[in-house]
């Protein structure tokens, strides 16, 4: 996805290597305020580190193979200068730069006074996303949409074990710890769809706990927010009956129907999302079928029970119903 990002390719050879195909989940893309700040630091660290490594290698080579020139290296002075003075100076500068970045981060965090608050709750192994808007709260799952250029305060917590919220393109990660609420201020600089993933090992299918963040223009965002807040928009779909009969509503909610479960992801607008199964599958009808039939095989140990009670026809109508929940 989105391989044409050659913006940084010229900066360094390293960058070319890394950003040859700047992925949707890369810390090299720097598309948020925080990630851009960190990216700058990253290049400085890489460059400085490479220089120092070269220096040490050069000195070692000199010490090994340099004829009489190596004698200059053979005194305790080298140890004092190279081992104490040089690191003291370099590290002081670096450390204070780091402090300044930390201070800047803390300042944005404190200043974030966005009208939009989003709670993201880590669950084994998906993300419950709650938008708090002046017009009331609503849930969605495994996906965030945020307005470009506006700081968004995320409140991060966990329902069970420790997870970690990480969208490298926009910001560094922060853990989701049961019993605590951590905050992260996210600000995207331009529109785009970026992938995030749980970074703290959370057991079982930790590898399959991803999500998408889409940064939208202000207008697009307002439109989306309005439609996302609304009830499900499929009328008298035959799958709705299968959904009810199979008891899906025990765990899943579809606003506007009597399905109001809060155990699993809210499915009100599931058909309009970018992925299914927390970043695992695309979002076509076939994927819904695959998920219902084989979810324990596709994402082992996930907490949805096997639905072996459903027959072929039920699965088919369920899949088309869910895909239609735009």
């Amino acid at each position: 996805m989105n391989c044409g990002r050659a913006r940084m390719a010229g900066i360094l050879i390293l960058a070319a290597l890394a950003a040859g195909c700047a992925s949707e989940q890369s810390a090299f893309s720097g598309e948020g305020v925080e990630s851009a700040r960190t990216l700058m630091l990253t290049w400085i660290l890489f460059a400085g580190g490479a220089l120092i490594l070269a220096l040490v290698c050069g000195l070692t080579a000199l010490a090994l193979f340099g004829g009489s020139a190596r004698r200059t290296l053979s005194s305790e002075r080298l140890v004092v200068v190279g081992g104490i003075v040089f690191p003291a100076v370099v590290l002081t500068v670096l450390l204070f730069y780091g402090y300044a970045l930390l201070g800047a981060g803390a300042a944005t965090g404190a200043a974030a006074d966005s009208p939009l608050r989003i709670t993201v709750e880590g669950n084994r192994w998906w993300w419950r996303v709650t938008y708090h808007t002046p017009d009331g709260d609503f849930d969605t799952a495994n996906e965030l949409r945020i307005p470009v250029g506006e700081p968004v305060a995320l409140e991060l917590t966990s329902a069970d074990v420790i997870h970690s919220f990480w969208v490298p393109a926009y910001a560094g990660k922060i853990d989701m710890i049961p019993g605590r609420t951590n905050t992260l201020t996210l600000e995207a600089s331009r529109p785009g769809l970026r992938r995030g993933q749980c970074a703290e090992y959370c057991g079982g299918p930790h590898a399959f706990m991803s999500f998408y963040v889409e940064a939208l223009d202000a207008e697009a965002f307002t439109d989306w927010l309005a439609s996302e807040r609304g009830d499900a928009v499929v009328g008298d779909h035959p799958g709705a009956d299968a959904f009810r009969r199979a008891g899906c509503g025990a765990c899943h909610a579809v606003r506007g129907t009597d399905a109001s479960g809060r155990v699993g992801p809210d499915l009100t607008h599931v058909g309009s999302r970018h992925s299914l199964g927390a970043g695992l599958l695309a979002n076509e009808k076939g994927d819904f079928r695959a998920w219902i039939e084989r979810h324990q095989e596709l994402k082992p140990e996930n907490l949805m029970p096997e639905m072996a009670t459903l027959d072929e026809a039920d699965i088919d109508s369920l899949a088309s119903y869910l895909a239609a929940l735009k």
Binding site: L73, G98, I177
Partner: protein, 846 residues
């Protein structure tokens, strides 16, 4: 015989006939089925190192399986569940069953030889530690074959590892298995501290102690401080899993972050615990490569000490993403920078030493490994500075960048020096050198393989690849990097394979005909046999073999201290801790079965507890204690010989008690361990208080009346008085009375009463440990004191029996003295405990 030096001859030569044969007989290694009884440090050390290497290979194979799984996207070679077990066991084995034991093994193997001591001061203790480790480690590792292995990662974070999310026994295998291996590491650490400080050769004052001695001293000191934290953590987690005391689950007022604090307070120093001895080895090898003294020797010592301390200020740098306030993160960032400085000192010192060489450079295998280490470790150190930068860490944390970083640091910092060691010190235990050709193959395969495997991971990590994922989709651009990494991993494996072939072809246990093939300057390259060196040299420089080329010949001729066995048994010289003045000759135990059985029963007890087979576990525990008691029954020999002549006109006693005795020192170190454990508890108590103060506010209302803690304190004080009196009442040598046993028993009863009263008063007040983190912490104080009291009760009974058997008197009183020391410590700990448990809730409520 060379007579140039003023003190060339300390003992008269030639030595009487039969003296060497007598030494050989006394120090002979048991053969055949009696091998488990062996205690000689070379045998035990080699066994220890061999076992650690086997675990290295096994954990490496697990790594290969994981690398194969990750070679291509969407792979399903291994299942998700197996993969989760694989990385848990790989990490745990590499850290706990390979790295720490391997460096500890090198201490056991090399230290006595470097110090020209006949053996370590507590030979059976090290043998016990080794066997316990081998049995416990083998059972732990084998869980991977039975689908019983833990799945929580080597860091085992709760709540994921609580019963709610990890039912079954798998997590308990980790907790009990590892807790138990930590205890054997601590036993080794006590041994090493006393060994380095007290069994140096006469004249080897601290400034002349080889760098490896320093490294091991600091290593052992760090174990004493760091390991108790993780022992406490494992205790708390196991208690929460088994009995539901809420230490970590937020529902009961616990805090999952408490585990992380305790674990990383151990876990970060752990990296340096592994690295320091390896750096010490490098500092021993580099001067030999250069045939020149280490440049900046004293600075290296300082660097080692500073690393030892600074490394305790880094633990939160594993927790930068947990949402701790930025300022606190900054402190840890600062300490992370500070620890980089000593590493710089060492690297530049090695470069300077290489530059100061006087002869032609010979790039032998050990030299190559050292140079490889220099590159790899520098690179790993630089990425270490990168991850110490908090904002960068937020991106890099828990990604393959960290996987790359830690493998650079650990492989560069530890594995490469270890391989250098294998090649460099092989002549000490093998009658043949390892092959230089095969060695170079090993080096180049491992060096290139390492960079091929781990360099790309830096990029994969920043391209968004998190750690501990068992597969990844092909839509993400990680496949190329992973394939390259896998190829590199196989190259490393090939290198290790070549080394194993070299071992099989060339390694032959036995004495080498050429003990000093590298022309090294330190004592371990003196001619050796089972008794270590023939006589113990007087040392007056850092590189005695360079400064006095005739030393080897003199030592072998028995011209130095202790050329014979004056007490007729195993013995070595104990010297003062700083200036190494000879103090006494310590008699040491020889081979025996009891430490072996004690180790097997201890391991069995822990492992049976893991699978909840309680009765046999208790039986094994009791048997283990019985074996220990039988084992120590014969150790305290008393002054059965008068002062003996050790050469140079020196006559030394063979028995001392009090602060000069090596046993007294070991007891003090053990108390430091207990103190560290309690400090970790106090930290946990205060931490949980700040994290959920409600429990403490409620707790104030449930405190027993002030009279109850006063009673407990009084009983503890009474116990101290009784033990002091007991020491006083001891009979003259040869005598026997019942006063001491009576006083000792009363003292033990008073201690027991104090603990029981404290716990019972809280129970009476209605507090239950399962109620809240507050209740759990109150009872935990009782548990920690009770376990000390239990040890004291056993030791006291032992002392009583010995006294009645006429084996304890005014002079021969080490047993009672050590018990008393523990009583004094317990008194202090219990008082602190009472103060905290009964004081803090009042503070909290006000």
């Amino acid at each position: 015989m060379n007579e140039t030096s003023p003190h060339a001859q300390i003992s008269p030569t030639p030595r009487p006939d039969g003296e060497r044969e007598k030494l050989l007989e006394i120090w002979a290694t048991p053969k055949g089925w009696r091998l488990p009884t062996a205690v000689n440090n070379t045998v035990i050390g080699l066994l220890y190192l061999g076992a650690a290497f086997v675990f290295f290979v096994l954990a490496g194979i697990l790594a290969l399986v994981m690398r194969t799984q990750l070679a291509v996207p969407d792979n399903d070679l291994v299942s998700q569940d197996l993969y989760n077990q694989l990385f848990t066991v790989h990490g745990t084995t590499m850290m706990f069953l390979f790295a720490v034991p391997a460096v500890e093994a090198l201490g056991v193997l090399l230290l006595p030889q470097m110090l020209a001591a006949r053996d370590l001061p507590f030979p059976r203790l090290s043998a016990f530690a080794v066997w316990a480790y081998i049995v416990g480690g083998t059972v732990f590792f084998s869980t991977i074959f039975y689908d019983l292995a833990p799945r929580g990662g080597w860091f085992m974070y709760p709540p994921m590892t609580l019963t709610e999310y990890s039912p079954g026994d798998a997590a308990d295998f980790w907790l009990l298995g590892i807790g138990f291996i930590e205890i054997s590491a601590i036993a080794g650490a006590i041994e090493i501290i006393v060994g380095v400080l007290r069994t140096r050769p006469p004249g080897m004052s601290l400034d002349k102690l080889p760098i490896f001695g320093w490294a091991m001293l600091i290593f052992a000191g760090m174990i004493v401080v760091a390991f108790p934290a993780v022992i406490l953590a494992t205790m708390l987690l196991e208690i929460e899993r088994a009995f539901g005391w809420p230490f970590f689950s937020p529902d009961g007022g616990g805090d999952p972050l408490l585990w992380q604090h305790l674990f990383w307070f151990f876990g970060h120093p752990e990296v340096y615990i592994i690295f320091l001895p390896a750096a010490g080895l490098v500092s021993m090898i580099v001067p030999t490569i250069a045939r020149a003294p280490l440049v900046g020797h004293n600075l290296i010592v300082v660097a080692l000490i500073a690393t030892g301390f600074f490394s305790f200020g880094l633990w939160v740098h594993h927790m930068f993403t947990t949402g701790i306030p930025s300022l606190s993160l900054a402190f840890f960032s600062a300490a992370s920078m500070a620890v980089a400085v000593p590493s710089g000192i060492q690297i530049f010192s090695w470069i300077a030493t290489l530059a100061s060489r006087t002869k032609k450079l010979r790039l032998t295998t050990p030299a190559l490994f050292v140079l490889g280490m220099l590159f790899i470790f520098t690179l790993g150190g630089l990425t270490g500075v990168m991850v110490a930068m908090v904002p960068f860490n937020w991106q890099a944390h828990d990604t393959y960048f960290i996987v790359a970083h830690l493998h650079y640091v650990l492989i560069g910092g530890m594995v490469f020096p270890l391989f250098a060691t294998f090649y460099y010190w092989a002549p000490m235990v093998s009658s043949r050198l390892l092959s230089d050709t095969l060695g170079k193959w090993t080096f180049w395969l491992m060096f290139i393989g390492l960079n091929v495997a781990f360099l790309p991971m830096h990029l994969a990590g920043l391209l968004g690849m998190p750690r501990r994922i068992w597969t990844y989709p092909d839509t993400l651009p990680w496949d190329g990097y992973n394939l390259v990494s896998t190829i590199g991993a196989y190259m490393i494996a090939a290198g290790v394979l070549v080394f194993i072939i070299d071992l099989i072809r060339n390694f032959r246990i036995g004495e080498s005909s050429n003990p000093n093939p590298w022309d090294a300057g330190t004592l371990e390259f003196l001619p050796q046999d089972v008794y270590s060196t023939r006589s113990i040299p007087k040392v007056d420089s850092l590189y005695p073999l360079w400064d006095r080329p005739e030393l080897a010949e003199e030592v072998e001729a028995g011209a130095h201290y202790l050329p014979d066995a004056p007490t007729g048994g195993r013995e070595t010289i104990v010297t003062s801790p700083i200036s190494a003045t000879p103090q006494y000759v310590v008699q040491m135990p020889g081979p025996g079965w009891m430490h072996f059985f004690a180790a097997v029963f201890t391991a069995a007890c822990f492992l049976l507890l893991t699978v909840k087979v309680v009765t046999p576990a208790i039986i094994c525990g009791v048997l283990a204690v019985v074996c220990c008691l039988v084992w120590v029954w014969t150790i305290d020999k008393g002054p059965d010989a008068g002062p003996v002549e050790i050469g140079g006109g020196l006559r030394l006693p063979v028995y001392v008690t009090g602060p000069m005795a090596h046993g007294w020192w070991a007891m003090i170190v053990l108390m430091l361990v207990a103190g560290s454990l309690y400090l970790a508890y106090v930290f946990s108590y205060l931490y949980l208080w700040t994290s959920s103060p409600e429990g403490w506010e409620l707790g104030a209302a449930m405190l027993p009346d002030a009279g109850s803690p006063m009673l407990s304190a009084g009983l503890f004080a009474l116990a101290v008085a009784l033990y002091v009196l007991a020491r006083w009442a001891l009979p003259e040598p040869g005598g026997n009375n019942l006063v001491t046993p009576a006083l000792v028993i009363l003292g033990a009863c008073a201690l027991t009463g104090g603990v029981v009263n404290e716990v019972w008063s809280h129970w009476q007040a209605g507090l239950r440990p399962t109620d809240s983190s507050y209740g759990a912490m109150v009872y935990m104080a009782g548990v920690l004191t009770a376990q000390l009291v239990a040890v004291i009760v056993i030791m006291s009974l032992f002392v009583c029996v010995r006294q009645m058997a006429g084996k304890i008197d005014q002079v021969r009183c080490a047993g009672l003295e050590n018990t008393s020391l523990l009583v004094y410590y317990t008194f202090a700990q219990a008082l602190v405990g009472l103060l905290i448990v009964h004081g803090i809730p009042h503070v909290a409520a006000s």
